[in-house]
Amino acid sequence: MDSLELSTSLSVDKAEKKNQSIRVRLGRLRDSVCESGIFVLTASSAIIIVFIFIFILIKSWNIFAVNGINFVLKSGFDQQIIEAYHAPADKPVWHFGALGLLLGSGLTTVGALLLAIPLGIGTAIVITELSPRWMKGLLQSFIRLLASIPSVIYGLVALLVVVPFIQDNFITSELQLQYIKQFQLTGNSLLAGIAVLSIMITPVIVALSVDAINAVPHRYKEASLALGLSHWRTIVKVIVPSAKSGITAGIILGTGRAIGEALALSMVSGGIGNIPNPADGGVFFLTPILTLASAIINKSESMSVPSINAALFACGVLLLVTCTTLSLFTKIVERSIRRREGLE
């Protein structure tokens, strides 16, 4: 406003004028200091992003240098951690294979998605299209709450409800005896992991799907109804397809959450990097497993050993690469869908 004041003070005497112009100049100085401040903050945000990536890569470098591609092709992570922990300082163990963890992350995520996608889209359809007006806000509040429940609470509830349920209903002592050589069947399992993850990522998918469906122009719905499609067929054939880029974004975001979830999974999924064997039938789902993210939590106590430290950072790199790919993938999917629909 300083320059405004300047214009009103044309008639005042010279001294006053000089005073004014100093104030204006001070104002400009203050502006440019603040603007540089903003720029510095922005630059530091940019730097931190790059720094995180480089730092984690460097920290894990040795692992990839020693193991190469075998880091993702070999299994036995738990055993290797124990060996590395007990290895004498002059003969450190650098050989690690995270295949089991990779599969653990993959299986829990895929399983959770298979449950969460229909749950999420169904719920989003109810919120946007089927529920009466008074219910919509209420349902949305519940979804938001579900999205903001901390993962440790999910872990706690799953550990004390879902795990005992699995133990009581699916695990018999004969079964336990049969598999005792390979692993202990306790209820902490792939299945428990999938159950807790699916509830955790459903609200993410719901939230983005609701936004996407609400953004579908009303005229598409009218066009479809006027063509003799029922409300449900309109939803299935016109509304949901028109919202697919947003729904896809929600699913990808949910995938990222599932892959990155560490704590809840470390509480309920067993904590041992077994590779579930499809030949075991139902026991496949009862196998205790470990994921990349929960391995970092579980093994962090032995991080003082340099090679273990690097191995955990290598797990971090795998997570980083996956999640970065997912983020970029969202952008690409959104763009290609928009292009196909002729919006760009």
Binding site: L41, I52, I153
Partner: protein
Amino acid sequence: MNKKKIRDLMGEVMSWLASSITIAACLGIIIYLFNMGHAQIDIGFLTNEPATTLETEKNGILTPLVGTLLLTFIGTLVAFPWALGTAIYLSEYAKRNNLTETFRLGIDVLSGVPTIVVAIFGLAVFSNPALGFLSSMVEGVQDVNRAFGRSFLVSGITMAVMILPFVIKTCEEALKSVPDTYREASLAMGASKWYTITKVILPTAKNGIITAVILGMGRIIGDTAIVWLTLGGTLRMTGVQPWWRPDNWLSTLKNTGSTLTSYIYFMSPAGEGHQNENAFGAAFVLIIIIILLNLLTDFFMGSKEIGK
């Protein structure tokens, strides 16, 4: 004809079923926590410090509660100006060019990075002896000194990094939702750009910015991975005692402690605490805090959008 009607009906029934499961999960968790946790809540629980199983005195959540507040405070204090500054730059100054777009993409990518990755990053960075003033120094073997890398300060700063991309994006959206006519009107009156930002744009976008901060706080309060790695595995404050005396505050901040989330973990069977009642008590308190924050966001944004 009738077949079609039945198919439609099936579809709708399935959708209702899906939403019932989702809502039942939400209600179920909250009711379960209430049932299991409410008996535990009393003045003693809120004002006693955590105890191990061996001790006879009553176990409480005073320091975890304080820990949660402390971390939230530090995390927000660091993240807010940082994120708001970046958001102002992006929405008001940045030109639309490849560099800016790459930066935006970087922010998106960072917001997709799992917190556990941010957590080990924080731990490793702050274990550097040069940053030892933020935590404490450990005597290493063979004269290799390193920093402990775990303290309230370290954890708070790491939390700030974790929420940074999210708060930047939400703040930027809030700033962008201010109509351009406001900017033009102010600039046309001869106001400087900075003046326009501080006196016109920020006040208009206030609610959106507050929402961003509250949602960020929610993330800090709910996070366990970062607490686990960068705040250490201690239930009580480990600085100079009594931790609450102002002259010991700095020491408290530079040392370790716990939060509600890590307390719940330690008390649960997973953390070998096996004091489920206490875990539930703390979980109940935590969920109340989360519900209150949710209501607060509703208040500031008119329950329009769900936290992404």
